[in-house]
């Protein structure tokens, strides 16, 4: 985790340098946008991590492994896909929850299916898609898009359960 932190900090510093080099206050603007996002999402972050803490403390290993553990095959991938569609909120809420399920024993396939399905098929973002692109487009995209979590989940299961 320390390496990841260092890499992210280096990326942030690199971008800061590029923004500063523009000489138009982009670096200050960028930092401000980041800060505002953080302030707005802080309550969600705290609640998400409280959930993570309880999931951790309750030790749901058996439950997680029975539903979406390695070796649950198609069932795990389908449950992961369905759960991903229903997960509410942005990445800072969803990723800690998926991470704790993975640590509690979810298989790679179901976990990847959940991430991908949240990213591509989340029902909350479909409510933005409908008014701007219409139902024909939305239905078509979802019909094509459902292939992604299923295939990725299947490949993940084959790779590592």
């Amino acid at each position: 985790m320390i390496e990841s932190t260092i890499i992210l900090i280096l990326i942030a510093l690199g971008l800061m340098l590029i923004a500063w080099h523009r000489h138009d206050g982009s670096h200050r603007k960028g930092a401000l946008v980041g800060w505002k996002t953080l302030k707005r999402t802080l309550p969600l972050l705290i609640v998400a991590f409280i959930i993570v803490g309880y999931v951790n403390a309750l030790e749901p290993q058996t439950l997680v492994q029975n539903w979406i553990g390695p070796g649950t095959g198609l069932q795990g991938v389908l449950i992961g896909t369905a759960a991903g569609m229903l997960l509410p909120g942005g990445p800072y809420v969803v990723f800690p929850l998926i991470a704790i399920l993975f640590q509690s024993g979810a298989g790679l396939g179901p976990t990847l299916a959940m991430i991908t399905s949240w990213a591509a098929l989340a029902l909350l973002s479909v409510s933005f898609e409908l008014p701007f692109l219409g139902w024909r487009f939305t239905v078509l995209r979802l019909a094509l898009g459902i292939s992604t979590p299923l295939l990725v989940g299947f490949l993940g299961s084959r790779l590592a359960g």
Binding site: L8, W35, Y54, A57, F102
Partner: protein
């Protein structure tokens, strides 16, 4: 009086947190109920440096890539070139669904093809650069790399399939929105 806006995600998640606290209390009394809180805050504190860097990175990407640029690129391109530009535009465009769907809507109105639009939305969902720092920080580098590698082919592939199989329905899609 300021109108109170309810954040339903926060309400739902708070409900889940209370339910889990209840389960913990029922299973292990006060000790387990407090233990959950303690572990949650401990995890949050341990990822805080990474989260700060992630929010800074996301904010800077947001400012460095202009929406206008992406929009200008995508309106006039078609064919394979259009699908690939759609993918790159989707990967680069910052912001949530309230940002990229209105942009996709205006691309649709100004004449973009079905393949370009599907590639754009799918790449936003699967290749998003602005989400990468959060994914990296919260899910870890291993899961993130495997996920990106396995989903890499989908934005151009689905764009191509949509264009080849249903490209001729774009006029009806356009009419259904106007």
């Amino acid at each position: 009086m300021k109108k109170l806006k309810v954040d339903w995600t926060l309400v739902a998640l708070t409900g889940v947190a209370f339910a889990l606290a209840g389960v913990a209390w029922w299973k292990g009394g006060q000790d387990l109920a407090l233990e959950g809180l303690r572990q949650g805050f401990q995890t949050l504190v341990s990822v805080t440096p990474m989260l700060l860097a992630a929010f800074l990175t996301a904010g800077l990407t947001n400012v460095l890539i202009s929406k206008e640029l992406v929009e200008r690129w995508l309106t006039t391109s078609a064919g394979w070139r259009g699908i690939l530009l759609g993918c790159i535009g989707g990967a680069l465009i910052p912001g949530g669904p309230y940002v990229y769907y209105p942009i996709a809507g205006s691309l649709l109105k100004s004449g973009a093809g079905l393949g370009v639009l599907v590639a754009f939305v799918t790449a936003k969902n699967l290749w998003s650069i602005s989400r990468l720092p959060y994914e990296f920080a919260l899910l870890g580098s291993h899961l993130t790399l495997v996920r990106y590698a396995l989903t890499f082919i989908f934005p151009p592939l689905l764009g191509y399939l949509a264009e080849t199989l249903f490209g001729n329905t774009i006029q009806r899609i356009r009419e259904s929105v106007q």
